[in-house]
């Protein structure tokens, strides 16, 4: 028989076991969000294609045609799309998981389950969009008759890095949002600026060498470069130092995010 002891001021030992027990809830919450998302829309799931497609067109025209940025030998739309793939995943995951606790406040104040599940499952929802976009990238590559290099097999590692970054920042913002609704305004800001501060519409090599290290403090630089390197080949450079900075940063954010989340989670129901 299961036994549960709760004592004031002590962290619960069974937390991680509960996380495992409620593992199916990950799936159910993500499934709910996906089911609900395109209800009562006219074009339905196509939205998850239309958005990246239009963004790609705009960025290609602005940076490639008007800005005349170097493309490093690859077709510019392809360059943009490879950058947008991780960026859109990260930015939607960030806004979705940031809002997830607040928009599920009725759940939080009425039922128990490890709250990490809510924040994490909204990252899964965004991941589905990511997969749809990735499918479109394959079509795009076929269209340009572009064969990816063998480094493409390393892509899963960078996907993992992007997931870790989304989870880490997502946990932080979700937990902070519970008490400080200011983040409701900050997140769209980050997302909007991030698009231009990250090498989405251009290559990170256009940033002058002496700013390169400073630039790579943005963790998305390492991730986006990694994606391009895997998908477009050596013509698109990867900076080992930037990558190292990115990995360290993501790890730190993820670990501290979980710790902060766990610490504040106990009072979510009282504050939300």
């Amino acid at each position: 028989m299961t036994q549960l002891t709760v004592e004031a001021g002590r962290t619960e030992r069974q937390y991680w076991r509960d996380l495992w027990r409620y593992r199916e809830l990950f799936y159910f919450l993500a499934w709910r969000d996906l089911l609900v998302r395109y209800k009562q829309t006219f074009v339905g799931v196509s939205w998850s294609l239309i958005r990246p497609l239009l963004t790609m067109v705009v960025l290609t025209v602005v940076f490639g045609k008007l800005g005349k940025m170097p493309s490093g030998g690859s077709p510019y739309p392809l360059l943009v799309f490879c950058g947008m793939l991780p960026w859109q995943f990260f930015s939607t995951a960030l806004s979705e998981s940031g809002n997830s606790l607040v928009s599920n406040s009725s759940l939080i104040s009425k039922v128990y389950f490890p709250r990490l599940i809510i924040a994490a499952s909204s990252v899964i929802t965004s991941f589905v969009d990511f997969l749809i976009s990735a499918g479109f990238l394959v079509v795009l590559m076929l269209w340009y008759r572009y064969v990816p290099p063998t480094a493409v097999f390393l892509l899963p590692l960078f996907v993992l890095l992007a997931v870790a970054a989304s989870l880490g920042f997502g946990f932080w913002i979700a937990a902070l949002m519970v008490e400080y609704r200011d983040f409701r305004f900050i997140v769209p800001f980050i997302v909007q600026f991030g698009l231009y501060l990250s090498p989405v519409g251009f290559q990170s090599s256009v940033v002058p060498g002496r700013f390169q290290l400073l630039y790579s403090l943005n963790p998305m630089v390492g991730i986006i470069d990694g994606f391009r390197w895997c998908l477009l080949g050596t013509r698109s450079k990867i900076f080992p130092l930037a990558l190292a900075v990115c990995v360290v940063e993501v790890a730190a954010v993820l670990v501290s995010g979980i710790i902060y989340f766990r610490k504040t989670e106990r009072t979510f129901a009282d504050v939300i």
Binding site: M1, L4, V6, E7, Y22, L25, F28, R32, V111, A269
Partner: protein, 442 residues
């Protein structure tokens, strides 16, 4: 049977309530202050935090519940019942003390938590089941039973936003009822739904209890508690007030709620004390039982040690669905010029058009500028008693009036055959006062 299922030791829960003044300073105002007088601004922000006051929703509660016991928890709103359930369900953590639970717990603090309006009944069964802690396999196994219990077969593939509230509640309770935990914790969830279904839910919980499982049941419905439980615990002011055999506890609780609440409070910052709030009927008899259509007079006895100029009193009558009507000086402007010394403010609600149910009165007092002097809170209780048949009610489902929306504005039906009929609670019939009171009490 004698092993303990839930054991609670000195449990306490503290909340911080902000005693913030009602501010109407906008963003521009705040920013202006921050820029012009940064230090003073910072201090005022910090002080605003200091003004927080501790409030113990639950204090020093120790309870031992044995396996297979069915325990009813009763008490007024704000007595700490829900806080206790929230702690036991692990939604929030206790501030002090500890508790131990042996067995799988299912708690149902609200019907339909996690239901999504856009999803169909079928989808919601799975989602809700998962949220309550069932695995997909378990839900699939009990799916047919759940559907049968909820009686919504035909609407299984309709989004729940198109459901009537009755259907919604039935489905939600059906999912929770099939959790099959060893310990079931249920908050006031049966207040919704029609009486036939309420009976069915109570039956289900009764079965539960008979199979040797433990049930913790919060309700305002004393009859339900009496029927279902052997033991009752009465919470008052965050503490266990009485714990014992259900009939005894229910009896003494009933005696207290049917007499008036002895309300008093003060705010030393403004030097205002509310010494008593009492209720009178049109014959000036102090009482807590009224008939539909009678006048209800609320008397507020105060003592002002400082001059309070142009305060606002706000009174609201609350029923099962929330606020029914209010008397609000902020709106009507009938405020006293000054309060100084002892005195009484009365408000007469004329010909109250309420159905026979239980009600409470909440009050708040604010300054000239609408700042809070006395927090919005419950100050009195009353019940409307009487036989609706005396008012011309003759529906076949009259017994459902106890869950109906309480306020009845006089209305008139016009039917296709040209007949009209008026319905009104505002004119009390000639009362053989004692007898009908006795009837209503039964």
């Amino acid at each position: 049977m004698s092993e303990s299922a839930i054991s609670i030791e000195k449990l306490g829960k503290r909340y911080r309530i902000g005693h913030q003044k009602a501010t109407d300073e906008g963003m521009r105002h705040i920013l202006e202050g921050a820029i012009r007088h940064p230090i003073a601004w910072f201090k005022s922000r910090r002080d605003a935090r200091v003004r927080e006051v501790d409030f113990w929703a639950l204090r020093d509660v120790s309870i031992e519940i044995k396996q297979g016991e069915v325990v009813g928890i009763i008490g007024r709103n704000g007595a700490g019942k829900s806080t206790l359930l929230k702690i036991l369900s692990r939604i929030t953590v206790p501030t002090e003390g500890r508790f131990r639970i042996d067995g799988r717990v299912a708690s149902l603090l609200e019907v339909g938590t996690g239901f999504h309006q856009e999803l169909t009944g079928r989808e919601n069964i799975y989602l809700n089941g998962a949220i309550l802690g069932m695995t997909r396999a378990e839900i699939s196994r009990r799916f047919d039973e759940i559907v049968a219990f909820s009686e919504i077969e035909e609407f299984l593939d309709t989004p729940v936003k198109r459901y009537s509230s009755g259907m919604y509640v039935r489905l939600a309770f059906a999912v929770a009822a099939h959790l099959e935990p060893e310990i079931l914790i249920v908050d006031e969830v049966l207040a919704v739904g029609d009486s036939a279904f309420q009976k069915k839910c109570l039956g289900k919980m009764g079965n539960f209890a008979q199979s040797g499982r433990t049930v913790l049941f919060v309700s305002h419905n004393l009859d339900a508690v009496r029927n279902l439980c052997q033991r009752a615990i009465w919470f008052k002011g965050g503490k266990v007030h009485q714990d014992g055999q259900v009939d005894e506890v229910a009896e003494s609780y009933f005696t207290e709620i049917s007499s008036n609440l002895d309300f008093s409070c003060e705010n030393p910052d403004y030097g205002l004390a509310i010494q008593r709030v009492s209720l009178r009927n049109s014959r000036s008899e102090e009482t807590s039982q009224f008939h539909p259509g009678e006048d209800l007079i609320v008397d507020i006895d105060y003592l002002a040690n400082q001059r309070i100029e142009q305060p606002h009193v706000i009174l609201a009558v609350f029923g099962i669905n929330g606020s029914c009507f209010t008397a609000n000086m902020l709106l009507d402007g009938c405020r006293p010029e000054v309060l100084n010394g002892a005195g009484r403010i009365s408000c007469r609600f004329k010909a109250i058009p309420l159905l026979p149910q239980n009600y409470s009165i909440r009050m708040s007092i604010r300054t000239k500028n609408a700042d809070m002097i006395i927090e919005y809170q419950e100050v009195a209780h009353f019940s409307i008693v009487g036989n609706l048949a005396d008012y011309g009610y003759r529906g076949a489902f009259l017994s459902r009036s106890s869950t109906s929306t309480p306020v009845v504005v006089p209305y008139e039906w016009s039917l296709p055959d040209g007949t009209t009929s008026e319905v009104s609670l505002t004119h009390p019939p000639q009362l053989e006062s004692d007898e009908s009171l006795k009837l209503a009490r039964q």
